[in-house]
Symmetry: D2
C-alpha cells in the first residue's frame, strides 16, 4: 500500500496486480468490506433502489459505518460515505486510515465497483490527504467479495478545492 500512497496510480490497482505491500493490508480491507456489505443491506433507498454501504477506519482502528439515506426531495438525501464520515467526526475522530465502499442495485447481490460521487469525495477531502486509500468492492451473485479496486483520494479528486482557497 505504501507505494500507492506515495504517488496516486493513474491505473486503478486491482488485486490481481496488487503489490506485496498492498497484500499486507488485505486483512484490514476484508474486515472493512464485511462491514460495508452488512451496512449495504441497511440502506434506505426506496427511490433509487441502489444500495450503498461504507466502512471507515479511524487512525486508532475504530470502524465507522454508513449507508445511503434517501429523501423524497432527492437533493436532501445523504450518501453512505458521508454518513460514515459524519458519524466519525461527531464522535471526535479527525484522522482516518481507509474507506471501503460497496454498492449494488437492490435486485442483485452481485455488483460492479461503486465509486464515490464527487460530493462525497469533497466531503472526505476536508479530513484526508491525497494518499488516503479508497477501496471499492465487487461482489459475486452470492454477495461474496470478488475483487478490490484501490484508489487514493488524490487520484479521485485531483486539483481539489479546499480550506486553503478560503485562506485557512
Amino acid at each position: 500500500m505504501n507505494e500507492n500512497k506515495q504517488k496516486p496510480n493513474p491505473n486503478p490497482i486491482t488485486m490481481k496486480e496488487a503489490s506485496i505491500a498492498s497484500r499486507e493490508w488485505l486483512p484490514v480491507y476484508d474486515t472493512l468490506a464485511a462491514s460495508a456489505l452488512r451496512m449495504r443491506s441497511r440502506s434506505y433507498a426506496p427511490y433509487s433502489h441502489y444500495h450503498v454501504g461504507a466502512a471507515l477506519m479511524a487512525a486508532d482502528g475504530t470502524i465507522f459505518t454508513g449507508c445511503n439515506v434517501e429523501n423524497a426531495s432527492y437533493p436532501v438525501g445523504i450518501c453512505a460515505e458521508r454518513t460514515a464520515f459524519s458519524k466519525a467526526v461527531s464522535e471526535g475522530y479527525r484522522e482516518f486510515t481507509a474507506l471501503v465502499i460497496a454498492g449494488a442495485a437492490s435486485d442483485s447481490a452481485g455488483s460492479d465497483f461503486c465509486t464515490p460521487c464527487g460530493m462525497c469525495r469533497q466531503f472526505i477531502r476536508e479530513f484526508c490527504n491525497g494518499d488516503f486509500p479508497i477501496i471499492l468492492v465487487k461482489t459475486d451473485e452470492d454477495g461474496m467479495i470478488k475483487e478490490y479496486q484501490i484508489h487514493t483520494l488524490g487520484e479521485l479528486l485531483p486539483h481539489s478545492f479546499g480550506p486553503e482557497h478560503l485562506g485557512m
Copy 2:
C-alpha cells in the same frame, strides 16, 4: 405533550406555559439536551463558528447524537440534525420519539434557541409524522439549560413535500 401533538401550536410553547402532560417528558428532554450540549462542543465548524449539537431518541429509547460537520465547499457540509438521523437510520432505526437541538456561536456558551434549517426539516420528514416533537434549548452564560421551546415537525414544515408526491 399530548395536547401539543394533537394540533400544532402556532405560538411555540415555552416551559413557562408547558402543560402538565409536557412536564412528564421533561426528564427525557433533560437527558437529550445534555447529550446535545456535549455534542455541540464536538462540532466541526471552522467556517461558520456556529456550533450545533443534536440528540435523537429512537422508539426503543436508544439515543443518537450528531453535530454539524462543515466543508470548505459550504454546500457539501452536513448539519447536526442530519448527522444524528443518518446515524440512526444506518443502524436500522426508523421510528423516533423526540429530537433536541442546541446551537451557539463559538465565542459564547450562552445561546438563544437554534431552530433546524429547512433542509433538516425535510430530512426528518421522511421518517417522522407531523406530531414528532422538536425541542430547542436555550443556555445561559455557563452553558446550563435555561429554557426549552417545544415545536412539532408539522408546525415547522406544514404542507410538506413527501413520498406521496412521488406516488409512494
Copy 3:
C-alpha cells in the same frame, strides 16, 4: 393578497375562498403559472420522473424561471425553485414579489399541488420575508390551470433559521 401578507393563514387559501384583494393578483399569477408550466416540460428528471417548473417575479416585474435538474448522485441535483432563484440572484436581483410552482409525474399532465421541499424554503428564506407569496398550481388532464393554493413563506417555514442566528 394584502390580508394574507399581514398574517400567515394557517388554512391555505384556495381560489374559492380568495379575498377580493387576492383577485387583483390573479392576472399576475396566471402569467407566472403559464411560465412555470412551460418550464415543467423542460425539467431534467430521468430518475424521479417527477417534473417541476417554477416562475419567480422580481420586484421590477422581471420573470425568472427554473426546473428541477437531477443527477445520478441524487443529493447533487437541484430543484426548480432554487434554479429560478439562483438565476435571478446571479443576474443581480435581490427583491422578489411572488413564486409560482407547478409539478407533475411524467405520465400525466394533470397534477395535484406540488409544495416546495424544505431545502428550497430555506433557500428562499435568504432573500424573502415571511409575507412572500408562494403559489401552487393544480392542473387538469389537459395540463390547464385548475386551481391555485396560496401560501406565504412565513407559513411554510415558521421559526426559521436565518442570517441573524449567525449574528448578521
Copy 4:
C-alpha cells in the same frame, strides 16, 4: 485543445505550455473569462466572502453565467458552476463546449486559480463527457486575466459515478 481532449493530462496545462491547438481556443476562453469575472462581482457570498463566477458555453455558442449564492444554512447554498449549468439546462440546453471559472476572496481582485468543488464536478458529469474542458482563471491585482489553467472533466473526476451505475 484537441490533444488535451484525447487523453487527460495529469499535469494541468498552463498557457505557457499550451499547444498550438489550444491557442485557437484562446479567444473563446477570453470571452468566457470576461463573463465569469463580471459574474464574480455579482456573487452573493456574505458568509465565505469568497466570490466565484462561471461562464458556460453551449454547443451553439450561447453563453450561460452563474455565481455562488450562499445561505445562512451553509449546505443549502449553490456554487457558481451549478448556477450556470442549471440555468442552461432549464433553458433546454444539454450539450456544452467549455466552462470557465474565476474565484477570489472579496478583499482582493487578484486571485489564484479557483478549482471546482467535487459536488460541481459531479453535477457537470451528468451532461458532459470526460473531454469537456474546464478552464481556471488567475487574475492580477487589477482583476485582469493573468493565466489560464486548462483541465478536462475526466481529469478532475476520474472513475466517476454516473447514470450507468443506476442501469441507465
